[in-house]
């Protein structure tokens, strides 16, 4: 589905109406970073798909990618900081970065847990620019025991194709079957296959627990598919999704819904307190959402923090750069890259 909106960026201004920091503090919480357990790296904006809700504005036309120096620097950081337990590779379709395989292999050698935000269809579509085949991915993931986290908006075709493009559901099912046949999602704790649900429009996700039961039942009965966990995440009102909300006149209503559903328990567990996010230039952000917005780089002592001047002390000293979009992380049961924060 080519919803070709321009790369719309919004600034960091906390509008009066949606003042996140204020709300956060009024709940008696301190919005400071706690640890860096996860290094999330956005290795490319290139993607074989162009999903309506994509907060990265990824598509086959994007060219940005982390080069080999950046990859090596990330590996050094992992080596120097054993407290960083996870490497979370995202994009675009991260597998389309030419150094992806090397990055995974090196991180695994260090004993780091590697997760990949895998869109499923890239295995069958291959590289949209070079035409390179990607059908080896399920074997590669199995060999390196990579945790596969895949977006599957629904267990039926309608909602999935609406968000991700015509034919995506069918292709995703085929790709999941390939992963299942390599042992993913079958009870082997080293071969984890998790799905991500997000609403098809301007509403909050249903209960993650109930939805997981439905997904498991339906996917197993209809397609014989198995998986480990379902992460229900909230749509964050930035970039393509924000443009869509504005277009249908639902932005204000959606923001109000998020603000009214503010949950202090979810606020306590927002993911930016335990991870940092790296972009294709090596700049560091509080999360992948901030990374996709303008002027949201982390700054410490007046200097941008990057992987090239990385220092753990500085990273923990940073001030998280909140904005109105942060209400997406704290609404209802909360939302993070690992799904619901609190039930």
């Amino acid at each position: 589905m080519s919803q070709s909106t321009s790369v719309e960026k919004i600034s960091n201004k906390n509008s009066h109406k949606y003042n996140f920091v204020d709300k956060f503090k009024r709940s008696g919480l301190k919005p400071n970073p706690l640890t860096v357990e996860t290094l999330q790296v956005n290795v490319t904006k290139l993607c074989n798909q162009t999903c309506v809700h994509c907060h990265v504005d990824a598509s086959p036309k994007r060219k940005e990618q982390l080069n080999i120096d950046g990859v090596n620097r990330c590996i050094e950081i992992l080596k120097e900081h054993p407290s960083i337990k996870n490497l979370d590779l995202t994009g675009g379709a991260p597998e389309l970065n030419p150094h992806f395989d090397y990055f995974v292999e090196e991180a695994k050698k260090l004993g780091v847990h590697v997760m990949v935000r895998h869109n499923l269809t890239v295995t069958l579509d291959g590289n949209p620019v070079t035409g390179e085949e990607k059908t080896y991915l399920p074997d590669f993931f199995a060999e390196h025991k990579v945790e596969v986290i895949s977006s599957l908006p629904y267990y039926q075709e309608y909602f999935t194709d609406k968000q991700r493009g015509k034919g995506v559901f069918e292709k995703s099912i085929e790709s999941i079957k390939m992963l299942n046949s390599r042992g993913f999602g079958n009870g082997n704790s080293e071969l984890m296959l998790n799905f991500v649900y997000n609403p098809a429009g301007a509403y909050l996700p249903p209960s993650q627990e109930q939805l997981e039961i439905d997904f498991k039942k339906e996917l197993h009965n209809k397609y014989g598919i198995t998986f480990n966990k379902l992460f229900a995440i909230t749509n964050i009102p930035i970039n393509r999704f924000r443009t869509q909300l504005l277009k249908i006149g639902a932005y204000e209503e959606y923001m109000e819904k998020l603000v009214n559903a503010f949950n202090p328990a979810a606020a306590e567990g927002i993911m930016c307190r335990n991870l940092i996010s790296v972009d294709h230039d090596g700049k560091i952000y509080d999360c992948d959402f901030n990374q996709q917005m303008m002027n949201m780089e982390v700054e410490v002592d007046g200097e941008p923090l990057t992987i090239f001047n990385f220092n753990m002390e500085k990273a923990l000293k940073r001030k998280i750069r909140f904005g109105p979009h942060c209400f997406g992380c704290t609404a209802g049961a909360g939302s993070s890259c690992g799904g619901t924060i609190s039930e």
């Binding site: 039926q156 249903p206 439905d214």
Partner: protein, 111 residues
Amino acid sequence: MSYYDPSDLKRFAEVGKFSKELMDKFFEYYNSAVGEDGALTKREKSLIALAVAHTEQCPYCIDAYTTQCLESGADPEQMTEAVHVAASMSAGIKLIHALQMQNSLKKKGAL
């Protein structure tokens, strides 16, 4: 201009401006009957409520329960089926009254 204003939905509680205790009691009853999991799941209740919203032809409730259905994990297919249940019940209810008509025809010696 239409008589119905969608933004009135958010002002529902303002009905309690008068006889507040009665409205409070209503909300307590309403929220526990419709808004919580019980012997029926919240999703099943939302689908029933959506069907009722259609038979009662209430635009507020149709808006509210479309959202509620989605947020409890229902999909447009299930929601449309719920409306068909409501529609076919209405049709059946109309049709069974044809027996009343037949009784009447009989009384007049026309059947």
